[in-house]
Symmetry: C2
């Protein structure tokens, strides 16, 4: 069986079962959340995450500058740390470089990494440089969180509201307009392309949400796919209200030009790097940052449902971006 | 200028200068040693390292089974932790997989990682799986060391003896015989191929050496290249005695069949994953594990010298394996 048949999530489940039990008692969370979690002090937890970006899979030199690739490579890791309630601290940068790549390209790549690193106070403490037939960039990032603030995927409770930060679908819309260069007003196009090229991880928002929410994940693979991860890990069901999705006016406008349904971009598009979290009603009232309620946690037997404005429900199919099949 | 002109080490120097000062005061060692080093307690240091292996650059599916690739991918990281005196603890595995790769391949890869992981008590706590045009495996590893036992490249002193564990050149010899399949007695061939395919990091030896040595590095790029790293970081010179190099009888025998100079394999071959360290004479007498003295630290102005059995000296050219030029 090819790995593309099993898909990324199937393969992760398979690996988790085969790898077996952890050896060290200090491993609080192993394979299957945004980060590995390791106890390093009475009250202090270490968060440990890694992301690989491959040329022509995650980016193309046609649409990304090296600076932008560097920014994004660290941004996606920072987002994983934020999703568990932590602050990012130290990273390693491993690069697979074609021999004919210019040193200027590498300089610019590092400028992008350093820029977002400075923004979120992340140090580059080492790495690896090897030869490769095409560009591969793999950043590993350490972060920290106090034990009481750790947020996992697996703690959603029946009755919780489901909420997101920011707007969703912009990144997928930005990618679509980059690939299909229609006539769109420059400022409108710029907004969604910016969201695709320069994801800005919600570290500050996460610091507020973590004290009040029950579970959290970052939106990397698409809302449908990521909400399924919470449902699965927490053994619950979920209702998502399709008319509540926070979709920007820019994405609605461009989707129309491209004859796409903006709700599809929001549900299945991925790479928004917003936070998706579940929170009980009492804590929701105490949360004083802008968020949007998009659904509610139900019991496991009720499954994953998408509810329209008339109250009609259909199954929510978690067809977010699958890294191994490469399909939406 | 292409990155291959500057080479791996030139590029690392360039990056180190451009990245600038660390933001966190808890970074004890940044870019340029085997691991990044971070303070996490009064006396406890975190070691953080990463290595990327790329298909057809670091291994070929023609000569490596997936199990062997997995073993090696973690082994090279464990060796970096050992080189700084630490014990390996937790790792992340990032995989770039071609869509048509079999799930069985991934199972075997993880069996290799898990096997050496169990041997050295390393937990796999997460990772990433993405699509790639060819196989890329990037493992990031955390380790720990007490502050007093941390060994760096930069603490070699004039007068120190230079020593290595085990034998050197076997791995390069193993690779050579894999690539040039001459008639050699199976057991002899097996010995050097085993050293190439299944590097066994010197964690236990490092635990003894760390309390006595002044500086340490693992032999990954080749003795000439790695000893230059110590000389450069410590601002010292070094004499290496060519007739003292610990070369196994197997490597001598196969080198003759292949018309290669075994001393070249030992000096420039790389991937031995033995420890290279410098130690003063008094501590050397207290070291009770098998090691070989191969040289001595001199003053910086004396440079890097290779001394033959007659006392003739020539410059030691650090032409170990260069990852970006891919040449020896």
């Amino acid at each position: 069986m090819d790995v593309s048949v099993l898909g990324e999530f199937g393969l992760i489940d398979r690996i988790r079962r085969s790898v077996g039990k952890d050896i060290h008692r200090d491993v609080l969370v192993g394979i299957g959340d945004d980060c590995g979690v390791i106890e390093i002090g009475h009250d202090k937890l270490l968060l440990f995450t890694t992301d690989m970006l491959v040329e022509e899979v995650h980016f193309s030199q046609k649409t990304y500058t090296p600076y932008q690739i560097g920014w994004k490579a660290l941004a996606v890791n920072i987002s994983d740390i934020a999703a568990m309630g932590g602050l990012p601290k130290h990273c390693l940068v491993a690069l697979g470089l074609p021999s004919n790549l210019s040193t200027n390209f590498v300089d610019e790549l590092y400028k992008g990494i350093s820029k977002i690193g400075a923004e979120f106070e992340v140090d580059i403490v080492g790495g690896d440089i090897v030869k490769s037939r095409f560009l591969v960039i793999n950043i590993s990032l350490l972060g920290e969180v106090k034990r009481e603030y750790l947020k996992r995927r697996s703690e959603a409770h029946v009755g919780d509201k489901v909420a997101v930060t920011g707007t969703i679908g912009d990144s997928a819309c930005g990618l679509a307009i980059l690939q299909d260069n229609r006539e769109v007003i420059e400022e409108i196009k710029g907004h969604v392309i910016q969201k695709h090229i320069f994801p800005y991880p919600r570290v500050r928002e996460a610091q507020v949400i973590r004290g009040l929410a029950n579970s959290m994940i970052d939106l990397s693979d698409g809302l449908a796919s990521d909400v399924m991860q919470i449902a699965k890990a927490s053994s619950v069901g979920v209702n998502i209200f399709i008319d509540k999705l926070p979709i920007s006016p820019e994405t609605r406008m461009i989707a129309e030009v491209l004859s796409k349904d903006p709700r599809d971009l929001a549900l299945y598009g991925g790479e928004d790097y917003e936070l998706l979290f579940t929170i009980d009603e009492e804590n929701l009232r105490r949360l004083d940052i802008p968020i949007t309620i998009i659904g509610e946690i139900t019991s496991r037997t009720q499954g994953l449902k998408l509810i329209d404005e008339l109250g009609n429900s259909e199954d929510l199919v978690p067809k977010g971006y699958e890294h191994l099949t490469g399909s939406n």
